[in-house]
């Protein structure tokens, strides 16, 4: 069983600037086992910069990143990162795209493909393994990218606006699927979004990132705790959370 009290990812005082301009300042946050935390904030608050630092792609000017107590600051390959676009490689078949993180970790292609294929059903990707990404719909591409992220993860994933490119109906469908999926996968997830409804619907906690430079200005635990279902989106509790977030955003 997941134990959100057990910290898997910890960021301590992350600061990053580019060309003399500080983008994020002194950001600290923790992510518990299997927990889903949304980062909510206006564009330019440094959410993506924070993810680039957490994933190890960029070196912070201050602070450090700990994965299960081990310092992984600017050491990529430890945390799975799904960037803003789905970034399925157009020249690889879906199965090879999904298996890529395993191949990068040194597994041979056949075994990596087999591991990937064993999840295709759960991710609604049946019959797509030998297709190319260009042959998939937007929702399918997103699920394939999510599966790739999940396979590459060692329990922690960063998702940068994973559903923002989808139309409203596809998005609703994928939310429904994702809620069920999240309860089964034990994946601690940090999730960037602009969409307040999405944040409330999916997460255990919401962190609000705002200001220049970006800082975490508020944090809110969503009640009732997961597992929840889509009817939550129409409940009084949902509205209460949303109201609270809106008032926090308005300062």
């Amino acid at each position: 069983m997941r134990d959100a009290a057990k910290t898997v990812l910890q960021a301590e005082g992350i600061t990053k600037s580019y060309g003399g301009r500080t983008i994020i300042q002194n950001i600290s946050l923790t992510l518990g086992e299997g927990e889903l935390v949304c980062l909510l904030g206006v564009s330019g608050a440094g959410k993506t910069t924070l993810f680039n630092v957490l994933s190890g792609l960029e070196r912070p000017d201050g602070g450090r990143v700990l994965l299960k107590g081990q310092d992984i600051t600017s050491a990529p390959g430890k945390i799975s990162y799904m960037l803003q676009k789905d970034l399925l490689l157009p020249h690889k078949k879906v199965a090879d795209n999904v298996a890529l993180p395993l191949v990068i970790q040194g597994q041979d292609r056949r075994r990596a493909r087999e591991t990937a294929l064993s999840y295709f059903g759960a991710f609604g990707l049946e019959e797509t393994q030998d297709k190319y990404p260009a042959q998939l719909s937007g929702g399918m591409r997103q699920r394939a990218a999510l599966l790739r992220t999940f396979l590459g993860s060692q329990g922690v994933a960063l998702l940068d606006e994973p559903f923002s490119a989808l139309d409203a109906l596809t998005k609703r469908e994928i939310h429904q699927w994702y809620m069920g999926m999240m309860d089964r996968l034990e994946l601690a997830t940090l999730f960037i979004t602009h969409d307040i409804d999405e944040a409330v619907l999916l997460s255990d906690r919401v962190c609000i990132l705002s200001g220049q430079p970006g800082q975490i200005t508020a944090e809110l635990t969503i009640q009732p705790p997961r597992p929840r279902n889509m009817s939550f989106a129409l409940s009084e509790e949902f509205l209460a959370c949303k109201r609270q977030i809106l008032s926090l955003l308005d300062g």
């Binding site: 680039n52 994933s55 190890g56 792609l57 990529p76 390959g77 430890k78 945390i79 799975s80 990162y81 960037l83 803003q84 676009k85 970034l87 490689l89 157009p90 020249h91 690889k92 890529l100 993180p101 191949v103 990068i104 970790q105 297709k131 190319y132 260009a134 042959q135 590459g152």
Partner: protein, 259 residues
């Protein structure tokens, strides 16, 4: 559906070709141009059939030179472009040199190569390699440079090494560019081989051409032009077939490609 579309898209080109043929026939039939200067298409066809075996044999030689030169050009372009992509300093040092060498006319280079290497096949193959190398190298460099930076970041976040990024991302991304360059080079290859045969040699379409020119055999001149065109088209078709095999995903991409 895709197939029938590609057939209808080729109709205008076929129509234009037929029209040119008809015009040519009319001009020569009505003797608008004296027949010893412009042979009629019928005469050209007759020459094509009569000299068929000789033309075919020479075409084989030219095709061999073109293919060998092209192979060398591809190999050199792959090695150099990849090295230049990997080492920025090499790129800065060599790119201007490459551009400058491209301004040297083939026509000026060919006699030099003959002087250095004799009348055999080697000067022809070398000339073809030199002329085909550049378009391939440049398109490969462009291909490498056009790699999606975000995709490279994704691979880095997975812990990929430079070598893995090259194998899984940069090289496959550059393939489409590579084949576009190769197509251009394939047509250069035949022209390059013919030009170097003009300047000295024992066999090949270029040698045949100089011979029939001296005999003022216009019908054979036209026949050999048609053979050269056919050989070039053959090589280009080969490149297209190779591209289909090497880049099967292109068939599904929504972006229309004109080449």
């Amino acid at each position: 559906m895709k197939k029938s579309q590609s057939i209808t898209s080729k109709l205008p080109a076929a129509g234009a070709l037929i029209l040119i043929g008809v015009l040519w026939l009319a001009v020569s039939e009505w003797e608008l141009v004296p027949s010893f200067l412009l042979p009629s298409p019928v005469e050209v066809c007759r020459a094509l059939v009569k000299d068929g075996p000789v033309l075919l044999e020479n075409a084989g030689i030219t095709l061999l030179e073109a293919a060998m030169g092209l192979g060398l050009g591809i190999a050199a372009a792959l090695v150099l472009a990849t090295a230049m992509h990997r080492f920025r300093l090499l790129y800065r040092a060599l790119y201007p040199v490459l551009v400058i060498t491209q301004t040297i006319p083939t026509i000026a280079l060919a006699p030099l190569l003959v002087l250095w290497m004799g009348f055999g096949m080697s000067p022809k193959v070398t000339l073809v390699a030199l002329t085909t190398f550049f378009p391939i190298a440049v398109s490969l460099l462009e291909g490498y440079a056009s790699t999606d930076r975000a995709a490279a970041d994704l691979l880095r976040s997975m812990g990929a090494s430079r070598r893995q990024i090259f194998l899984h991302l940069e090289f496959p991304s550059a393939l489409s560019h590579f084949f576009s360059g190769l197509r251009v080079s394939a047509s250069y290859a035949v022209v390059g081989a013919v030009i170097s045969e003009w300047l000295g040699g024992f066999q090949g379409l270029g040698v045949y051409m100089t011979r029939v020119k001296k005999a003022y055999a216009f019908d054979k001149m036209f026949a050999v032009i048609i053979v050269i065109v056919a050989v070039s088209l053959l090589l280009m078709a080969l490149v297209t077939a190779l591209r289909r095999r090497a880049c099967p995903w292109e068939a599904f991409e929504k972006i229309e490609r004109n080449d």
